[in-house]
Each structure stands twice: as structure tokens, then as C-alpha cells.
Amino acid sequence: MSSPAQPLAASLVQSVDWLAIAPPTIAAVVALAVLVADLFVAEHRKALLGWTSVAGLAAATLMLLPLLDGDRSTFCLTGDAAVCSYTADRFTLVIQFLVLGGALLAALLSVTALKDARKALPEGEYWFLLLSSAAGAALLPASRDLATLIVALEVASLPAFALVGLKYGDRKSSEAALKFFLSSVTATAVSLLGISFLYASTGTLYLTQLADRVQDVDGQLHTLADTGVVLTLVGFAFKTAAVPFHFWVPDTYVGAPLPIAAYLSVIGKAVGFSGLILVTVVALPSYADVWGPALAALAALTMTVGNVGALRQQATRAYSAVRLLAWSSVGQAGYLLVPIAAAAYSGDAEKSIGSTVAYALMYGAVNLGAFAVAALVGRTKTLNRVADYRGLYASNPLSALLLAFFLLCLAGLPPGIIGLFAKVTVFSAAVDAGLGWLAVIMAVNVVIALFYYLQWTALLFRAAPEGEAAPHRIPAPLTAALAVTGVLGVALSGAPQLVLRFTDTGLF
């Protein structure tokens, strides 16, 4: 259609591949529908909104299936069909699956949380914000130009600020939202500045074109391009909650409703690191000598600070369980960064990226599972202290066993076999790239992390404190979330190939 013989009008009108963009679009459309419907749905029927959103997310996830047959691109340049803004390749699909599946699980947790909150949380707004954020997060891995990337990033994170601060009249909640908002907006501003520098020096926003042109920038513009690269990277590093941009995490998680903390811990991370991968590996491979060492140092710092922070949590402090999960998610973000850093050194960048993707899938499943158990315990013990988990096995054996399994997966010890092998791929990416020092630091971190994960696990099987309440019924949505994550974790432990194959095959 881009042949010069065609009339001008035809070349301006793009044909849109609706199937390719279906997953984020469905999420966005359902978000709007829910917002509008909120005005007309009677007060006692508000639960319908929740189930509509869950169905919408499920539909969006299912729409990934017809895309499996091959790579699709849309919103391409009319002059050059190879340069596109939206690409649904394997990388995109895997991350979209992680994001939408994770959002679906978070939505299941939210159904119960909203019901328990008894109108303390506005339902219509809640679902609208959650779905829009999920739509942005699903758009992000598919975007192949810097403008779409930033738009997607903002669509994913702006609703998240509101979600964090949604608890009416909760001082901690609004404070957390403000912290999150201010630091995030600063980061966005910084990366926007960086992107504008890059655009100024190369004249393009498309990642593939950028990769070519940034290599032979005019000598005068060299400094500008270099600054642009650094500023862009800093902005994306924030989104992964990498140290030193991590300080908002623990307070935000504690202040936010629990399902939102779960959502941020997985989808927020997925957004951050997929943006980082696109910027580093796809757009700026020629700057590998800049971002490689920087990311390696960042990874080492992040995992160390996160794990030490988790280690220092006192079991009896209020919300210590959520705090511990928050800090441990910072630590896990460090592991996720290791293969991206390794991609700078190894000959096969896609293989390294595959390790990050595989690890993220494992982490998504088990971390959401751990949050689901935390949500369950939080229903009766509102303070959600680690000490409250003492004797969980006696009152609720199945969920205690599941939590133990999830924690051991996160720690990477059998019986959490998938956690172990996901760590093995990360280690092997580091060793393969010659980053021995980083592998050793990670080894030490794995041991530190084991200490707090195992301490928590051991607590589950202790004798329960006196005066224990009778076990209560678990609501259906929570049961579903627990069942899905549990089955995923166990199935992956039996057949790790299901996620580890991404380390073996090309993603882009």
C-alpha cells in the first residue's frame, strides 16, 4: 500500500490490525464501560462491576491466543512498513500474558477486598483505575517507539497513584500516594528530557531506527546523545524500583489496599523492566558499554538493599508481612536486572532477556500467590504482622502449605523447584556473560533472602498461640486466586520447561 502509485489519501490512512491490539484495547474499553456503568448501577448491585472487570481482563488475556501464530505489527510508517509503533511478537505476548494474568489475579483479590471494605473504597473508580492501568501495562511491551512507550508508561502508572491513595480518609494511604506520585513524576520528567535529547540528536523516535542512527551521531551532538541515553535509563530504572529509586516501595505497599500492593509488585515491575529492555536491548544496543556496567551495579545494589531491608523487618511490627513482601520484591527486582545487565556482555542478548522473562513469570505467579495468602490472613488479622502467621498450619493447613511453597519458590529452594531453576537461569546468564562478581553477590543475596523467607515459613508450622479463632470460610474469589497460583507453581515445578523455554528461543 505504500507504493508511490497509490493516491495520497490511501497512504495516509493506516490499516489497523485490530486483532493485534485487541488485548490492551479490550482492557481499556471495559474500563470505560465500567466507569459509565457505575453511574447507572444500583448500590446493592455494585459487585457486578467487579465481575465485569474480571471478565474483561479474562477476555483480554484470552485474546492473546489467536496472536500466537506469528509476529504481527501495526501502526507502521507508510513509507517504511518495517518501522512500526506496535508489534505483537513473542516478547510482547509473554509480557502481556504476565501483565493481564497478573491483573486478573489482582482483580480476584480485589473483589473480596472491596466487599470486605464495605463501601470504604469507591467501586466504580477502583475498577476503572485498575483496568486502565492494566491496559497501559499491556500496551507497553508492544510499543516500539519512545512516544508510545512513555504514553503507555504513564497510562500504567497514573491510575496506580490514585489506586494507592484510594482509601478514604487514610492518612498513610494519601501520604504513600504522594510519595509515589512525586518520585514517579520526577522520573518521568527526567526520561522525557532524555528522550527529547535523543530525538534531537537522531531525528527519530522509533526504536529500531534509533538503534541504527545513534551509532553515527554528528560529533557535536555526541554529548547530547550520551546525556539523553543516561537520562532515559534513569527514568526507567525508577519504574523497576531499583535502588536508589526504591524508597517509595515499602510505604506505598503498606498504604495501598493489599490487592493494589500485589498488583504493583508484579505488574509495576513488569512494566518497568520491559520498558528497560526495550530501551536498552532494542533501542540502544550500541551503548551496551554504558548501560551494561550501570545495570550490573544497579542490580547488585538493588538486591542487596532489598534483601537487607527485608531482613531487618521485625515480625511484630504492624503490617510487617506486607513490608517484608515489599522489601523482598525490591530484592527480586535486583535478580530481574541481572540478565538485562548480562545482555550487554553476552553475544546472545535475546537469550539473557529470556532469563529475565522466565524469572518474571515465575515471580509473578508465586508472588501473587503469597499476596493472596496475605490477603486471606489480613481478613481476620487486620494488622497483618508476620507474627500473625504463627500457627497458620493448625488453623488452615492448605493455605499454610501454599504460602510455604510460594515463599520457598521465592527463596529458590526445593520443593520450590521452579524458583530454583529460575534462579539457575539468571545465574547462568551472569556466568555466561562473564559477570562472575555479580553472580557471587547474587549468591550471597540468595542466602540472606533464604533467612527471612525460611523464618516466615518456619513460623507457619509453629504451635498456634492461645485463644485461636475457629477457621472461617474462604471467599470464592480468593480461593480461585489461590488455586490458580498454586496450580501454576506446582505445574511449573514439575515442568520448568514451560517458562524456561523463553531462554532458549528468540523473543523479538
Partner: protein, 524 residues
């Protein structure tokens, strides 16, 4: 010995590894009708005895079906692809090196389950105890049966969680701290080991132990081998344990319940030395040669250190704990094993493997006996037990005293019992180490090691004198002598100690061809 179909052998080996895992899952479920027993506790303990018994029978049938004319050939091997992305294959197989360890593990676990059936350690419900015991068994058996580096690592890690809980939940005084020490030390070691394994696997392009052993380090540069041996050796040395990385061991042994100590000493420590023989010797020979003198030096330091620590503990007024003393003696005994491996000669390595088995039998028995002593007297403190004159166990419980004296002299290496051959061969190997190793250095090590045997004899005889002998006061209460279930649990160990001592060829005939082949590199 008897001809068994190869696919039956494959099934048996797979069953030996997977069976305990299934048993552990079944132990957590409520007992089916008809198997409820007298109480849920009794039913689950019986379940443990049944499963470990079935595994032991399978292991014995494997040993019978094993082609004893070709012990260097991998038998009953299965090779299925599991995770193609990481090139991990479920590759199982046994040869003359792993078979004795496999049978020893199955035997000791069965005896422990049997012992617990009658004498459950104090602590929470036995359901979890049985499940953890079975997971532990599966992990150790898998360590000896797998032939893939990453699978080996998986099996190596699998024992950590069960052992942690066994110590932390059913242990004695100071158990929580001891359990932490155990798991953190071992995990730190094994994560470093993982880095070494990955280095080998990535540089050589395969994780298959057989292929790597055949390659004999030819596709790895010397520097890669040196780094890999350092990393892997560190992980294995923590587990073995080698001086100065042993400090988790005495605490863990002292705090662990009797069966925990038995399995820790009898089986878990062997995983370390087995790794040295199975992985480091054939796969990275050049790297190992670089470190062999240091390994030998640390091994003899361990021998002397362990013996001196034991001597100090055995002294009157030292408030020495008997379990701690046996733990330190393990450090010394494992020193001999490491010395044998470090010689890189068939003699030394055979000796090391023999000493491995002997230590498993004898120290397992010793821990059982000391546990029984603690049940009867309530203490393992030597000074409380022996007071001024001695505990006079010969008088109070003659059979128990006799068995303790037997285990002690077996442990000091009396010719004619199992402890003798391994240490003798290890020292003999050091007399003429492999080519490329400094003979004077190894002669020195041999001399020091030989001196260590004297010290070992000294402290064990002191223990026998203080615990078994002594004047029996008229009004002293008699202790219950050996009960029938204790006889049942201990007799196999006693018998095997004597048999291995009188007929060492049974074991050496199995291990020697396999060791020759490993050291020569390549399959015949």
C-alpha cells in the same frame, strides 16, 4: 548376581528416588480406611516404616541385579529430557561407586524409621516428621543416583529444608540456632557450588556427568577448571565438612534428634565426598591437581584438629558432650576420606570410598547408642555421666556397654572391623600420590595422618573407660538394657561393620574398577 531385566532395573532405580517423595505426600494425607492403626500417630509412623522398607528392598534388589562383573559400567540408567532450555536431563544410573552409598542410605533411613516407630523423638506430631524423613531420603538417594550436574545440585539442595525442620522442631537444646547455622552454611556453600557447576556446563556445553567424565576435562581450559574446582570444592567441603568449614557440624549434631544425627553423619556428609569423587576428579582433573595438596593439607589438619578437640572434650571436668565428641570425631574421619581423594590414586580414592561407608555404619551406630544412653540417663554430658569414677555401663547395662565399646573400637580403626581398611588405604595412597603431586608433601601428610590415628585411638579409649568402666556402687540403679527394637535397628549395622572388616573385597571389588575408570577418564 541374579539376572534382572534392564527395564525392571530402571524402574527400581526410579522407584528408589521417587518412591519416598510419593510416600511423603501420602504421609500428609489422612490414612485410608483399613490402615488407620491404633491412632493416627501410629498409622503414620508405620507408613514411614513401610515406605522406607519398600525402598530398602528395592535398593537390595538393585544391588543383587547389579552386574558385579562390570561395576564400572553405568547400570539401570534412564535418560529422559526434562528441561531442554537448560539442557537438564533426568539421567539416572548406578555404578560401583554409587551403589554402596545408595544401599547404605536406604538401610540407614529404614533403621531410623524403625527406631522412630518405637521411640518417636519429643516434639510436634509425627506426621510432618515422617514426611520430612522421606523427603530427606529421596534427596540423598537422588544425589547418589543422578548423572546430571544441575539435577545433582537440585538433589543436594533438596535435603536442606527437611534437615532444617528435623533439627529445629524435634531437636534438643539450642536447636533453633544450630538449625540456622546448618542451613545457612550449607546453602552458601552450595550456591557457590552452583556457580562452579554452571561454569563447567556452559564452557563444556553439556551438564551430563557421563559425557563430561569421558571428556576428562579436555574441553575445559586449566583456568576454567581451577575456578570451577575452587567453587564446587567449596560447596562440597562445607558439606563434608572440611576443616575450617566444619563449624556448623558440632552444633547441628548436638542439637539434632537421634535419627537426625544418624542420617546427618551417616548419609548427608557422604554427599560432599561423593561429589568430590564423581564430579571433580573426572571432570576437572587439572584444576583438582592444582588444589590437591591444599586439600590434603586441610584434610590432615582436620584429622588432628578433630582428634585434639575430642581429647579435650573427653577430659575429666571439660563438660564434654558425647554427641559433640562424636561430631568432632566425624571431622577427623572425613579428613581421612578427603586425604584419600586428594592423592588422586586408585588406592587412595578406593580407601576414601571405603572409609565413607565405614564411617556411615559406625558413626550411625554410635549416634544410635548415645541417643539410647540419653534416653536412659537424660544426659549426654560426659562429666555428669561418668562423675569421678566412670559411668560403669558394663555393670548397669552390660549389652549397651558392650555395643558402645564395640562401636568405639570400630571407629578407632581396629583391624578386622570396617574402620580399618579405609583409613589404611587412604594413608597408603598418600605414600605414593599420583603423578604431578609432590611426594614429600604427601609423605608428610601421611605421617601426620598416621599420628592422627593414634590420637583417635586415645580419645575413644578414654571414652570407653569413662562411660563403660568404673566401679559399680551397690545401690546404683540398673539401667534398662538393650530393648528388642533397638536390637533390630542396630544389629544390621554391627553385622555389616564386621563383614566389611573381614571381607573388604565385597566393597573394594565394586568400587575399584569404577575408580580406575574415573581416574583414567573415558568409558571403557
Amino acid at each position: 548376581m541374579i539376572d534382572i531385566n534392564e527395564s525392571v532395573m530402571q524402574f527400581l532405580l526410579a522407584f528408589v528416588v521417587v518412591g519416598p517423595l510419593l510416600g511423603a505426600a501420602a504421609a500428609l494425607l489422612p490414612a485410608p480406611p483399613g490402615l488407620k492403626g491404633k491412632s493416627p500417630e501410629q498409622a503414620v509412623l508405620r507408613h514411614g516404616v513401610t515406605v522406607t522398607g519398600a525402598v530398602l528392598i528395592a535398593a537390595i534388589v538393585l544391588a543383587l541385579g547389579f552386574d558385579h562383573d562390570q561395576p564400572s559400567k553405568m547400570q539401570a540408567s534412564t535418560d529422559i529430557s526434562w528441561i531442554p532450555a537448560l539442557d537438564v536431563r533426568i539421567h539416572l544410573g548406578i555404578d560401583g561407586i554409587s551403589l554402596p552409598l545408595l544401599v547404605l542410605t536406604a538401610l540407614l533411613t529404614f533403621l531410623c524409621a524403625l527406631y522412630s516407630y518405637f521411640k518417636m523423638p519429643a516434639g510436634p506430631a509425627p506426621k510432618a516428621f515422617v514426611a520430612l524423613l522421606l523427603v530427606l531420603e529421596s534427596g540423598t538417594l537422588a544425589t547418589f543416583a543422578v548423572l546430571d550436574l544441575l539435577l545433582f545440585f537440585l538433589a543436594f539442595e533438596m535435603v536442606l529444608i527437611p534437615m532444617y525442620f528435623l533439627i529445629a522442631r524435634w531437636g534438643g537444646e539450642g536447636r533453633s540456632q544450630a538449625a540456622w547455622r546448618f542451613i545457612l552454611y550449607t546453602l552458601l556453600g552450595s550456591v557457590v557450588m552452583l556457580l562452579g557447576l554452571l561454569l563447567i556446563g556452559l564452557k563444556a556445553g553439556t551438564f551430563d556427568m557421563m559425557a563430561l567424565a569421558t571428556d576428562n576435562g579436555r574441553s575445559l581450559t586449566t583456568s576454567v577448571q581451577v575456578i570451577a574446582v575452587l567453587a564446587i570444592g567449596l560447596g562440597l567441603a562445607v558439606k563434608t565438612p572440611m576443616w575450617p568449614l566444619h563449624s556448623w557440624l558440632p552444633d547441628a549434631h548436638t542439637a539434632a534428634p537421634t535419627v537426625g544425627s544418624v542420617l546427618l553423619a551417616g548419609v548427608l556428609l557422604k554427599m560432599g565426598t561423593y561429589g568430590f569423587v564423581r564430579i571433580l576428579l573426572p571432570i576437572a582433573p587439572d584444576g583438582f591437581r592444582t588444589f590437591a595438596p591444599y586439600l590434603a593439607a586441610l584434610a590432615v589438619v582436620g584429622i588432628i584438629y578433630g582428634s585434639l578437640a575430642c581429647l579435650a572434650l573427653a577430659k575429666q571436668g571439660a563438660k564434654g558432650d558425647l554427641k559433640r565428641l562424636i561430631a568432632y570425631s566425624s571431622v577427623g574421619h572425613m579428613g581421612f576420606v578427603l586425604l584419600g581423594i586428594a592423592t588422586m590414586t586408585p588406592t587412595g580414592v578406593n580407601g576414601a570410598l571405603f572409609a565413607n561407608i565405614a564411617h556411615g555404619l559406625i558413626t550411625g551406630l554410635l549416634f544410635f547408642l548415645v541417643g539410647a544412653l540419653k534416653d536412659r540417663t537424660g544426659t549426654t554430658d560426659l562429666d555428669t555421666l561418668a562423675a569421678e569414677t566412670g559411668a560403669a555401663l558394663y555393670g548397669k547395662a552390660p549389652r549397651l556397654g558392650g555395643l558402645l565399646a564395640f562401636a568405639a573400637v570400630a571407629s578407632l580403626g581396629l583391624p578386622g572391623l570396617a574402620g580399618f581398611w579405609g583409613e589404611m588405604l587412604a594413608l597408603f595412597g598418600a605414600f605414593q600420590p599420583a603423578e604431578g603431586l609432590s611426594r614429600p608433601a604427601f609423605l608428610t601428610f601421611m605421617a601426620i595422618g598416621a599420628f592422627g590415628t593414634l590420637l583417635t585411638a586415645a580419645y575413644l579409649l578414654i571414652v570407653v573407660r569413662r562411660v563403660c568402666m568404673g566401679a559399680l556402687p551397690q545401690d546404683a540403679p540398673r539401667l534398662t538394657d538393650v530393648r528388642s527394637y533397638e536390637f533390630a535397628a542396630w544389629t544390621p549395622l554391627v553385622v555389616l561393620t564386621v563383614v566389611a572388616g573381614l571381607w573388604p573385597k565385597a566393597l573394594l571389588g565394586l568400587s575399584d574398577p569404577a575408580v580406575q575408570q574415573l581416574l583414567a577418564g573415558g568409558t571403557r
